[in-house]
């Protein structure tokens, strides 16, 4: 079972890297770019498990390790 996990910074947390890239994009001519936020895309192969198990595991893995919920939020997608 393949899955994708998306981890992004909470709105209230500043994103220096995103800001820097936003500015760099403005500088090279894309002045319409207003906001850039950088998150993580984690692709994983969960082996032979059911969709339910996969979803349960992904939620736990996010809470425990993949995201730091003090500053980040997460979502995921099981691809089958």
């Amino acid at each position: 079972m393949k899955a994708k996990v998306y981890v992004t910074l909470k709105k209230s947390i500043a994103d220096p890297q995103g800001n820097a890239i936003g500015k760099a994009l403005n500088k090279i001519g894309y002045d319409n770019v207003e906001d850039v936020r950088i998150g993580k895309l984690i692709e994983t192969e969960l082996g032979e498990v059911t969709k339910e198990t996969a979803e349960k595991q992904l939620k736990e893995m996010c809470e425990k390790l993949l995201a730091n919920t003090v500053i980040e939020q997460y979502s995921f997608e099981v691809l089958g």
């Binding site: 209230s12 947390i13 500043a14 220096p16 890297q17 820097a20 993580k40 425990k64 390790l65 993949l66 730091n68 003090v70 500053i71």
Partner: protein, 226 residues
């Protein structure tokens, strides 16, 4: 009095802490391997700097799952002293033993330099040998030392006087120039600067000793909390 220094795969400053405590401050000190079961009694445990588990995903993200860490949590919950320096600070926030988190430096670069810190609270086991407002010069060496925390939490920390050290010239973008904090119980310290790098004249700086001397005098009973 006994100090313990936890060694994770990827710890780099374990040795520096060991030498500072043993050779410069004449203390009894052990290394604690991350996989240890049955932790001995220590008066103060240090989580040293470095790149535990490569600091992959997030700095300090994997270290909390090391075998010894459950017992270290218990050690802290008993009110005993626990210090996280640099990567150790990151680990303590990841474990939820300290509030907030540490993110990329504002300039997105690793910074290694000696910087002036202001001591903001001297009524703690970690700062009692300092003067209030005293400025001490301590090396920093980190890529992710930019302290962030939610507003309400920050207000609580201020109220409780949990902010112990601030940067005189903010190098990394930390909120309120924060360089080091403690928990509500004032027995857990996290700081990005490296006091263990500033303990001997040969290296040109002894100002980091103040932190360790504070701990020692607290443990000797020479200082009592409020």
């Amino acid at each position: 009095m006994k100090f313990g220094i936890v060694v994770f795969p990827g710890s780099n400053c374990d040795i520096d802490c060991y030498h500072a405590l043993r050779d410069s401050l004449n203390q009894d000190v052990d290394y604690i391997w991350h996989d240890t079961e049955g932790l001995k009694e220590y008066d103060c445990i240090i989580l040293p700097g470095g790149f535990s588990y490569g600091d992959y995903l997030r700095c300090g993200a994997v270290a909390p799952f090391s075998k010894v860490m459950d017992e270290i949590r218990v050690h802290a919950e008993k009110g005993k002293l626990l210090v996280g320096i640099c990567n150790g600070f990151q680990i303590l926030t990841e474990m939820g033993l300290l509030p907030g988190a540490l993110v990329r430096n504002k300039n997105l670069k690793f910074i290694c330099n000696t910087v002036p810190l202001k001591v903001e609270n001297i009524d703690t086991p970690f700062t009692n040998r300092c003067d209030l407002g005293q400025v001490i010069n301590i090396p920093i060496a980190h890529g992710e030392g930019n302290y962030v925390v939610e507003k309400d939490e920050l207000a609580k920390m201020k109220e409780n006087r949990q902010i112990l050290f601030t940067y005189q010239e903010n190098p990394n973008g930390s909120v309120l120039d924060i360089a080091g904090i403690c928990n509500e119980g004032k027995n857990v310290l996290g700081m990005m600067p490296h006091p263990e790098r500033a303990c001997e004249e040969l290296l040109g700086n002894r100002e980091g000793r103040l932190v360790f001397e504070s701990i020692i005098s607290f443990l000797e009973g020479g200082w009592k909390s409020e």
